[in-house]
Amino acid sequence: MSRDNRPAKDSIAATELAKLGLCERKLYLDRTYGQGNDTAAQSVAKTHGNFVHEQARIAALAAPAAAKRHHDPRCFIATAVYGSAAPETQLLRDWRDDVLLPSKAGRCFVRTYYAVSPPIARVLPHVPGAVGIVRGALNLAVALIARRRPE
């Protein structure tokens, strides 16, 4: 089996195969009649899209490796209760990424949480019994999330 990256003669490009997810009719018509010409508006949009796309790629390459593992500083209250490297904290981070952030309401909730939680996290260790109460509430949340999470 060849290990180089020259495509085989009948190799299918990823972007070509993915067109099956857009319009199968267009796929057939492109093969039969050619792809056709873009309209002026489509050309402009394509040029702009390519430019922004390349900017995003360059930004990703230029960015230093993100925060060290287990040092996501945004999970303030969970970090104060469980610790930054705890599996419960990571479970809550994953739930944030998978459930909250994809929706507008979820993002609104996350923004609110980031706004109000740092001072709460600072005060928590100094209020007798507060960590225990918050831990109990978080344990319940973690148990519910873990139960619903597909493996």
């Binding site: 085989a8 993915a18 319009c23 040092h71 990424d97 994809p102």
Partner: protein, 185 residues
């Protein structure tokens, strides 16, 4: 009297939340990428726009935007999109890249597991001309599912399978056939 003070407290809290929402975030994380998935913490870019290809069990090739090596020593595919979301297209595209990484990875990446999901980063214009960044985790297809897709692709291209129109918005915005008035849209 107690009720009055409780009302003041609740009202102040609500006002605080509204004010916090309105002011720009001071945390540089929040300013830069508020909702970057935590899987990217500690990840490094290992490939970008490099031509990759595989030959068995099927012949596929492509140039993924970004391949990360994550902190847990796995490979993660990322695609950047600037237009409207096309979930099925993105899923198939990234599944091909992931399959290539499983079957014929570059020399330096051999032996690393490939994550069963990819990340799509949408950069679309938001209010006031700002770029609005959103991330989406996309479950990727297995080899068996890809094999089915490749079979269908070949059948559609040959014209031996009925063609389905998947996305009528795509038809209106992107398709050059029928001047945007495709009867399938």
């Amino acid at each position: 009297m107690a009720g009055f003070w409780l009302l003041i407290l609740v009202g102040s809290l609500l006002l605080l939340i509204v004010v916090m929402h309105k002011r720009p975030a001071s945390d540089p994380y929040l300013r830069a990428e508020l909702n970057r998935p935590s899987i990217l913490d500690g990840a490094v870019v290992v490939e970008s726009k490099t031509r990759l290809a595989m030959f068995e069990p099927f012949a596929l090739h492509g140039e993924p935007d970004i391949i990360y090596r994550t902190a847990r020593n796995s490979l993660l595919v990322r695609e950047d999109k600037t237009g409207f979301p096309q979930p099925r297209y993105e899923q198939i595209q990234m599944s091909v890249y992931a399959a290539i990484l499983r079957h014929n990875p570059p020399e330096s990446l051999r032996g690393l597991a490939v994550e069963p999901f990819g990340l799509v980063r949408y950069g679309t214009p938001g209010k006031g001309g700002k770029l609005r960044i959103r991330w989406k985790k996309v479950p990727l297809l297995t080899d068996e599912q890809l094999a089915g897709i490749i079979q269908r692709y070949r059948a559609v291209r040959r014209g031996t399978a009925p063609q389905l129109t998947q996305d009528s918005i795509y038809c209106a915005k992107k398709c050059a056939h029928f001047g945007g008035r495709c009867p399938g849209a």
